[in-house]
Amino acid sequence: MPSRLIASVRSAAPLWAAILLLFGGQVLVSQHLKPFRPAIEEMPYPPNPLALKALGLGDDQFLFRAEVSWLQGVGDGGGRLKPLKDYDYDRVIEWLRVIDGLDPQSRSLFEVGARYFGAISDPGSAPLKLKALATYFLEVGMSDPAQRWPWLVWAAVKAQHTIGDKELARRAADQLMSLRGAAGAPYWLPLLAPPLYRAAGDSDRAALVMADPDMIRLRQRAFTELNGRLSQMGSFDLNQ
């Protein structure tokens, strides 16, 4: 028995030695190849919506989630990140538009647009890029304010505080004012308009809107509701 064992070990030894040597070689080769890293993926132009749908083999929901995940990580090249200031935002918006067509109910595309691409802070390029994003958000938000009012709020806040474009601020204000009494949309959306008029340099219009009896009623309703909610949260009263 021991002699058979020794014989089998002897016969297998060269093969094991070769396997171990080759395995060692593979580890060395992988160390040698370590510096070669994949290039940071560039964002291509989006395809035709019909061609994009074909990529999902009929499952639009899967395609939507896959594309949103891709958009979220498109500038990540294995730990190296492409700065947001280097993105072509017109192309980003084209992608947002084409992906949005796959699932208009979801808010995840808004989150990627607002919290990822909207987080650009480069002082040189941010205003222009955010203006493009806010213009798109306004357009999409106005198409379905009942469901997509967060897109409008984001655009309004950026137009008021960050972008510094008077024309956009005025347009956003006009559009928000047009939502007075809109079915399904939050009643308080028009209250965002006066600060936007002020940001657009039109203080007179802002004052006029503020003095409108309908807007006063809306403001009082919003104030009462907010006060009630804050009180529920922890005995806090805005009147105090």
Partner: protein, 258 residues
């Protein structure tokens, strides 16, 4: 009936012995792990992302697994002259095809039924949407088994059969889009006659293949039933295409090989 039960038992034993069952379950667990990872990394609606990814992954695993298993199993039966031996007994070609289809389909449906519990446990899926998605996956398996059996018995070679089965499956999922592109005239060439012929050919092929793009919608997992169609349309499609493919398989056995 006895022949059917014997065949089912034989195919099930082969599937277990070939580790097809365990390989599909392991692959589905890997898909669930990958989908959970993607769900965790999503900025918003992580669970919906995970469900859509896992749903698609399960379907791909099931379809590739069934096509590969059936193709290689049929090839092995041909190499060992098992098919010829069976057909020397008083059994018709139609019974032979029906018995093997039932056995493969039974395994396909049983394996597909693992998907819903995994989605329930791994990603908290539930409701009518999950039931509809699970049922549509089972129906899709029935069609894919018929496609794979047709390719395997017609082509003989396992490699050719796998490639043809995958090709037919992909085409069945894409045909509606090809037809839509042809009808919308977005892919025009410079010659009207070429366009006309191409459009006609695409429409003809699209009409002949099953509408697999309607099966297994991820939106059912995320939002529940909806989208304009449901199980009744899928049942109708399955009820038409499966007998058609089986009849073509029987006809092919008569004419070409046995």
């Amino acid at each position: 009936m006895n022949a059917l039960i014997t065949t089912l038992r034989y195919v099930l034993i082969t599937a277990i012995r070939d580790r097809m069952v365990s390989a599909i379950i392991v692959a589905e667990l890997a898909v669930l792990g990958g989908a959970s990872l993607m769900a965790a990394s999503a900025l918003a609606e992580g669970r919906a992302t995970g469900l859509a990814m896992a749903g698609e992954g399960f379907r791909v695993v099931m379809m590739l697994g069934l096509i590969t298993f059936i193709s290689f199993h049929v090839q092995r039966m041909e190499e060992t002259r098992e098919i010829e031996a069976i057909l020397t007994r008083p059994i018709s070609r139609a019974t032979f095809v029906l018995a093997y289809y039932t056995a493969y389909a039974g395994i396909g449906v049983l394996l597909s039924l693992c998907a819903a519990p995994m989605l329930m446990v791994g990603l908290a899926a539930g409701g009518a949407g999950l039931i509809e998605w699970q049922a549509s996956l089972a129906l899709e398996c029935l069609i894919v088994v018929a496609i794979a059996l047709f390719c395997a018995l017609s082509l003989g070679s396992a490699t050719a059969s796998v490639l043809a089965g995958i090709g037919l499956y992909l085409f069945s999922r894409l045909a509606a889009f090809f037809r839509a592109i042809a009808e919308s005239h977005t892919g025009l060439s410079t010659h009207d006659s070429v366009d006309h012929v191409t459009t006609w050919v695409i429409k003809a092929i699209a009409a002949a293949v099953p509408r697999l793009d309607l099966f297994g919608q991820g939106q059912w997992l995320v939002y529940g039933p909806g989208g304009g169609w449901g199980l009744s349309e899928l049942l109708l499609q399955t009820a038409i295409i499966v007998p058609l493919l089986l009849a073509a398989t029987v006809r092919d056995m008569h004419v070409k090989r046995y």
